[in-house]
Amino acid sequence: MTTEILLDVPRGHYRAKHVARSELAKIVTLRSTAITAGLTVVACLLVTGLVTHAALHHDPGYYQGFDPTQESLTGMITVALAGGVFGALLITGEYSSGTIRTTLAAAPKRLELFATKLGLTTVLTMAFCLVLSFLSFFLGQAILSSGGAPTATLASSGAARAVVLTGLFIGLIALMSFGFGLIFRSTAAAIATFAGVIFVLPLVMHGISESDVRFLPTNILVNSIMSTVSQGQGGPYPPLSPHVGLTLMVLYAAVALTAGAVLFVRRDA
């Protein structure tokens, strides 16, 4: 048959590496990616700079329970916001522009496409957040040491763990948002859900069940992951340990991603 001759294509079949290259090209060919990344770095370091600067030149009493590691990682909260937006946009941007149909025409095996996109997103966001976590830490310590405030080094108790886990944790937040993107397919809905979980839920939860606040991503990040000095240990609801906190965040992200993957595979594009 004539078709058979024309369908003379190379041996083998398209593979995940081809899809990964293509997905990477998609990310780097959008100027907004570089702009978002640049602004995130600036915002993060600016917040860390302002917070640590405000901690300088106080009476010794002020530094009671002072956590120089946590102070120097404060800017990473802005990275959580940017990561959440980036994670959601990676998928909702495709739906809003219609690119998803072109993507599926090129790579119709949906589960494989999901896995490739997820893998690439994981590598990029984790690497970015880790690097930024270290930058924020070193900038914060440099500022703290300039004004007589207590400082930490990576060798200090819990400091290296806090810096690394903060980067990973925020990467996980971005992945959870990627899952929201797959579930909702609309930028507004995905980002609203993300902002609701990260920024609104902690405020609301205080009024509902004080004891459960510590299980929320934001509270885990600030009290369990970024912190090296146990603060509320005496209180009725001590923060989760870093490892329990991180595991819980892995679960949250996994739930959002699994739901997203199931819908992505089953739904009409």
């Binding site: 078709t3 001759i5 294509v9 190379p10 398209y14 219609g98 072109t102 025409a105 119709p108």
Partner: protein, 311 residues
């Protein structure tokens, strides 16, 4: 070769595609014809694996789309024109697409040249006119030099020169032995472009035939008659069982073939200035066939769910 077998797709209560079976053979342009909302786009999306059929199958060379080894090298599709991120340049759009199926990067500039977009290759797609977007969509379909091509309303937004270009282009692709399926609600366009027709209405197959057969099937042609003896001629023809309608200085005669009309004129000494068989247009044939379909299912609103999703 594309084969759709008993393809059915429902959205809630509405059946967008209803037990549709047809074939698209290679080497010809197959026109996919139907009014807006008749299920053309939905069918094409099912062929592409974008929408999953509720039952039935759509196969390309015997395989489902998601089973193809190199989808873009086997099937090229222009489904909706706006399937690009507006902030990406035309070249970068084709670039990422080529990477996904390991298509040599040289093809990007080749297809840009082929559709005449070389001079704007570095421009953001968001700034493109509808016609330019359409050309970029066609370039994307051609990127992998595929043997099977699907075009959904490809002349939308094109100027007359562009329309002629697409028309010739589709014929060339089929001439090279490729399988070409092109949908349109414009009958006139299909009559110029297609060899074969798959005609659907309300998601159901109305006809699958050659363009010539389709026209012939619509109940034979009328005959155009110009004569100075209109009154007498009308009486004679009517007596012979014909229908006669005055039409701008001529008579349109139905139900009698031209030799018979000539014989009657010779018998009664009537003068004929012009006697022309009029082939029924594709449009007439289409209206006639789809009218039945409308009559049988008057409760459904035209252009409901499937129109929203596709066209």
């Amino acid at each position: 070769m594309i084969t759709a077998h008993a393809l059915t797709k429902r959205y809630g209560d509405a059946t967008a595609v209803d037990d549709l079976t047809f074939e698209v053979p290679p080497g010809e342009v197959t026109g996919f014809l139907g009014p807006n909302g008749s299920g053309k786009s939905t069918t094409m999306r099912m062929i592409m694996g974008l929408d999953l059929p509720d039952s039935g199958s759509a196969l390309i060379g015997g395989k489902r789309y998601c089973e193809l080894d190199w989808p873009l090298r086997q099937v090229g599709a222009l489904l909706d024109a706006k399937a690009f991120h507006p902030a990406r340049t035309a070249r970068n759009h084709l670039r990422w697409l080529s990477l996904a199926n390991d298509i040599p990067s040289g093809r990007v500039d080749e297809v840009l040249d082929q559709v005449g977009l070389t001079s704007v290759a570095g421009r953001r797609v968001g700034k493109f006119s509808l016609g330019m977007t359409q050309r970029l969509g066609i370039a994307a379909a051609l990127l992998g030099d595929p043997g099977v091509l699907l075009f959904d309303e490809p002349v939308n937004g094109l100027d007359p020169e562009g329309i002629r270009w697409v028309r010739n282009f589709l014929r060339d692709l089929a001439g090279e032995g490729r399988t070409v399926l092109v949908s349109s609600h414009l009958i006139s366009e299909m009559s110029l472009t297609a060899d074969r027709l798959v005609v659907i209405g309300r998601g159901r197959l109305i006809a699958e035939t050659s363009v010539a057969d389709f026209v012939a099937r619509s109940g034979g042609g009328a005959v155009r008659l110009v004569t100075p003896d209109e009154e007498r001629f009308t009486a004679v023809l009517t007596a012979a069982g014909a229908t006669v309608v005055p039409d701008d200085g001529a008579l349109t005669v139905g139900g009698l073939v031209s030799p018979r009309i000539g014989d009657l004129a010779a018998r009664d000494g009537l003068r004929i200035y012009e006697l022309t068989p009029v082939t029924a247009s594709l449009e007439d044939a289409f209206m006639e066939l789809t009218q039945d379909d409308v009559e049988f299912r008057p409760s459904t609103m035209p252009g409901d769910v499937s129109a929203e999703r596709g066209a």
